[in-house]
């Protein structure tokens, strides 16, 4: 399994008996990476069942609680099958198995999206820079790909290594995908284990994608001072031609930026992004702008800003072409995964394509050639700009008022709104000339436009909201920090000990999409609360944009107020979705750098270390996609708890611990081999909260770990108690369960806690060196009590 690296000979000129060759490169099979002196661990390149026993340990403690969205299975022609009341389908699967199968299906889809992105990135970079191009995360990062090292046992140092790692990932994804087929896996716990597996593979794929683009495209390399970027709709300059890039894959957009720069027109155009492409164009060129998260696509396009819309892959509104047509914005599809039904014009002359787009002969084109994309987009934008004059499709208020008077009051708009927004009441207010309620709905709107699909009068309700809130979004400008990439080894050296001991009470990772139940303010308030409490707060993806939109009294965003280092009280942005891997990587590096645990092919030990010692909590307040599901699955396998907002219940399965069952919280004491009961920490592995108040309390609670030192436990408890009293209004009744010795008691609330301990007949408990893996007991297989 270690023979993954091809040896290559490269020669500028080679004379042989049968000819003379120039610029040749020859592959001679595979050799071992034999200059890495770290010993290989027990599980390099694990297959689908290699880590099954670890998964089963977690899944026994954190038993899945299913909430099926459907009681039927309709995936094969045996069915539909009715799975109610204990019935099994024709294939033999029951509702529990089917529910677990859906979990695996979602994780597979999410992993595939990231992995295909990663494969495109690496193949493209090899084509451009050659297979031996060296990978780097920058100064201060020697462990440049901790997830890949941990999982595969390979230290990727070149693009060729990255490609070999992706070969492994693709094989694993094929296997986990196949397990979903009818007549394969039948056990809920093994569906779940496979979901964990593909989540782990997803983290590797994301890490490789970001490593490849950071190394080749000049992105910030582990830079805590990554540049601040202008964001928000009003940061766009209406005098300039405007190019909007939507999606996740930055490569096509780099050609646009390069062409604009090479032809000297950069000052005449604004290039802005939505969703993760926005982050990555800002990492490529800090002068680009960020419109906002995925949910702002429709409002921005309809407001007519974009002279050209460029789509790459993932998180694109699949009907973007229809909306762009209404405002005369040509659409350029650049990725084979989302060609939008557009004609492939790759082989056509640039000027012919531009002419057809500008004249409106075609509303959009698909182009595979990156260089051609750059030229077509820039030329089209410059020609479209004077022609369009920011043509929007927003109605006038007078027109809205007139139309609103014919509202049928059927409530279909409300019934279709994911967040039950009072759309109909707002329309009725507009009929009276009051547009404020519609503007208020805009503030909470996630931009799905289901309301207008449902409206029998075919009102463009989303446009109405945008128009009503025009005065608000015209002021919408804020600063966000571009993605810094990985966490430096040197930063880990500084914070590793205080995190493991609990003195830095936790690492909070706000990840992902913008399907918020109540607008984006919640994640800002949460981040500020925990940063004040000296947690390390990390952001990525769309959440990293939204958090910047809330400004303080001085007009500063959280990124301007707080440092971007990986340290207590900091708020940092690692970057786009694929940069999520750096968050897992930081936890892994803590085990390696601070605790000196070997990484190489040593997944179970490192996951066990993180689960028991690193108080990390992942949060995806607006989780929407299958990608968010696979990202979460990767964290679950590392033993890191994940909290989602209320819409996260639609993932249809929680992983819940039972604090009331002491037998569920047994660990091995690695020092003695004894079985020891610990407190329920982290209590859950996957949990959907109902609202921000519950999120505040749950976050603090899930940061508790068995290995906390007395000082660390006291600090964590003081935060938990304080937040519980603030948001639940009373002193929590389970504090005594977290006290092992009296030294764990936070000094300022000693009396209350001691009273509770007395009431519950508290007894001192040992503080073990905790592990869930018996073979990790020092000196062998345990043998203690």
């Amino acid at each position: 399994m270690t023979e993954q690296k091809r040896a290559r000979l490269k020669a500028d000129k080679l004379d042989t008996g049968f000819g003379s060759f120039r610029n040749i490169e020859v592959t001679i099979g595979k050799v071992i990476d034999d200059d890495w002196d770290e010993p290989m661990g027990p599980t390099p390149m694990p297959d689908v069942t290699t880590l099954r026993s670890w998964d089963h340990k977690l899944l026994t403690r954190y038993r899945p609680a299913y909430m099926p969205a459907c009681q039927l299975c309709c995936l094969c022609t045996f069915g539909k099958c009715d799975l109610t009341s204990g019935k099994r389908g024709a294939c033999g699967l029951d509702i529990e198995g089917q529910s677990a199968r859906i979990v695996l299906a979602a994780a597979n889809i999410g992993c595939a999206a990231h992995l295909a992105h990663s494969r495109h990135m690496v193949d493209y970079m090899i084509h451009e820079f050659g297979p031996r191009f060296e990978l780097s995360q920058g100064d201060g990062v020697e462990i440049e790909a901790p997830v890949s090292r941990l999982v595969t046992g390979i230290r990727p140092r070149t693009l060729e290594d990255a490609s070999a790692i992706l070969d492994y990932c693709e094989t694993q994804l094929t296997h986990t995908l196949s397990a979903v087929a009818t007549g394969q896996e039948g056990s809920w716990i093994d569906f779940e284990s496979k979901a964990f597996h593909v989540g782990m593979i997803d983290q590797v794929g994301m890490e490789i994608a970001d490593l490849a683009q950071i190394s080749t495209l000049g992105f910030p390399q582990s830079d805590p001072d990554a540049p601040l970027i202008e964001a928000g709709i009003s940061s766009m300059d209406p005098k300039k031609a405007m190019i909007l890039a939507i999606g996740h894959n930055v490569v096509p957009a780099t050609y646009i930026m390069d062409y604009a720069s090479e032809t000297g027109v950069s000052d005449n155009i604004d290039i802005a992004g939505i969703c993760c492409t926005a982050w990555d164009i800002s990492r490529y060129d800090a002068k680009t702008k960020i419109v906002g998260p995925i949910s702002w696509q429709l409002r921005f396009v309809r407001a007519g800003f974009a002279d050209v819309v460029v789509v790459d892959e993932q998180c694109i509104r699949t009907d973007i072409l229809e909306h762009a047509k209404k405002v005369n914005s040509p659409v350029i599809a650049t990725c084979d995964k989302s060609t939008m039904g557009l004609p492939d014009r790759t082989d056509d002359d640039v000027d012919d394509i531009v002419k057809d787009l500008v004249s409106g002969k075609t509303p959009g084109v698909y182009i595979r050639d990156h260089e051609k994309i750059g030229e077509v987009v820039v030329k089209t934008a410059i020609k479209m700009h004077p022609k369009r004059k920011k043509k929007g499709s927003l109605p006038s208020k007078a027109k809205m008022q007139e139309l609103a008077q014919a509202c049928r009051q059927c409530s279909e708009c409300v019934r279709s709104c994911p967040n039950d927004q009072p759309v109909m009441d707002a329309v009725l207010a507009a009929a009276e000339g009051n547009f404020e309620p519609l503007a208020d709905v805009y503030d909470e709107c996630i931009g799905c436009a289901r309301c207008e699909s449902a409206c029998p009068n075919e009102y463009d309700l989303h446009s109405w909201m945008v128009k009503a809130a025009e005065g608000r979004w015209k002021q919408e400008s804020f600063m966000v920090r571009s993605g810094r990439g990985a966490i430096k080894d040197t930063e880990i050296r500084t914070v590793g000990q205080p995190i493991v001991f609990g003195e830095i009470p936790g690492v909070i990772a706000h990840v992902g999409c913008a399907n918020y139940p109540d607008g984006g303010r919640a994640i800002h308030d949460h981040a500020e609360e925990f940063a004040k409490r000296r947690f390390i707060v990390v952001f990525s993806g769309c959440a990293a944009m939204t958090v910047g939109a809330i400004k303080d009294e001085e007009g500063k965003s959280i990124y301007e107020r707080r440092p971007g280092t990986f340290d207590a009280g900091s708020v940092l942005n690692v970057g786009s979705c694929v940069a999520n891997s750096h968050i897992a990587g930081a936890a892994i590096k803590i085990a390696n750098i601070f605790a000196k645990r070997n990484l190489r092919g040593n997944y179970e030990e490192i996951a066990d270390y993180i689960h028991n010692r690193v108080g990390a909590v992942g949060i995806s307040w607006g989780a929407m996609s299958q990608k968010a599901a696979s990202i979460a699955a990767g964290f679950w396998r590392l033993g890191v708890p994940v909290i989602v907002g209320p819409h996260g219940t639609k993932y249809r399965r929680m992983l819940l611990g039972r604090a009331d069952k002491p037998e569920d919280w047994m660990v091995w004491d690695a020092r003695t081999g004894d079985r020891v009961q610990v407190a329920a920490g982290p209590e859950h592995l996957f949990y959907a909260v109902e609202n921000l108040e519950e999120l505040m309390v749950m976050t603090a609670k899930l940061a508790i770990r068995p290995n906390d030192t007395a000082k660390g436990r006291a600090i964590k408890l003081s935060h938990y108690i304080d937040l519980h009293e603030t948001y639940k209004g009373y002193f929590p009744d389970d504090v005594h369960t977290y006290i092992r010795r009296e030294t764990d008691i936070p000094i300022t609330i000693k009396d209350k806690i001691k009273a509770q301990m007395k009431e519950n007949k508290w007894q001192e408990k040992p503080i073990p060196d905790p592990t869930l893996v018996r073979r990790l007991v020092y000196g062998g297989n345990g043998g203690g009590k």
Partner: protein, 181 residues
């Protein structure tokens, strides 16, 4: 609008769907029959009311009259504590959904199981899924959704009701349970 169809239009379920509560007496009969009923109250109770009564006051009265414990999810517990009500227990919505699947579990460490669970106060889609968990994995429990909108995964649910009709129904349930009008 007395229709037994999902309030959020896409939230259709499988072969079984809730029976509509056409008369509040149905709830009275279920209460009479239940040995260990439970009220699960979500955070929307903090801001909603029925008639002139806050939902928190309503449930305190209901719980007291019918001697039913309350599980208050998220921060809902604050309102019960502030009013000095001591038969409310704090669990997360997902926690209580998980616990109720355990046949041996009952709130306040008493011997279980609960056999009747009445829910109120959650985002529609969230309650929909909580009730799905119970209908599929807690066959020993009958569920009643007390909200204004039809919840197909409950055993019993109001159809989509106008506010006044719903107020009247809740008032009658309170009377049937021995509480004031």
């Amino acid at each position: 609008m007395m229709r037994e169809e999902p309030w959020q239009t896409a939230e259709v379920c499988g072969p079984t769907k809730a029976q509509g509560i056409k008369k509040p007496a149905v709830v009275g009969a279920l209460l009479k029959k239940a040995k260990h009923p439970l009220l699960v109250v979500g955070s929307q109770a903090l801001t909603e009311n029925t008639g002139k009564k806050s939902m928190i006051d309503y449930f305190i009265e209901f719980s007291t009259a019918a001697k039913i414990p309350i599980v208050a999810t998220a921060n809902t517990i604050t309102a019960f504590k502030e009013k000095g009500f001591d038969n409310a227990y704090s669990y997360g919505a997902m926690e209580i959904t998980g616990r109720l699947q355990d046949h041996d579990w009952m709130v306040a460490s008493k011997k279980g199981p609960h056999d009747l669970v009445m829910t109120y106060g959650f985002p529609y889609y969230m309650e929909w899924l909580m009730l799905s968990a119970l209908i599929n994995f807690s066959p020993h429990i009958k569920t009643v959704s007390l909200g204004r909108y039809y919840q197909p995964h409950a055993t019993w649910s109001f159809p989509n009701l106008k506010k006044q009709n719903w107020n009247d129904a809740l008032k009658e349930i309170l009377t049937l349970s021995g509480g004031s009008k």
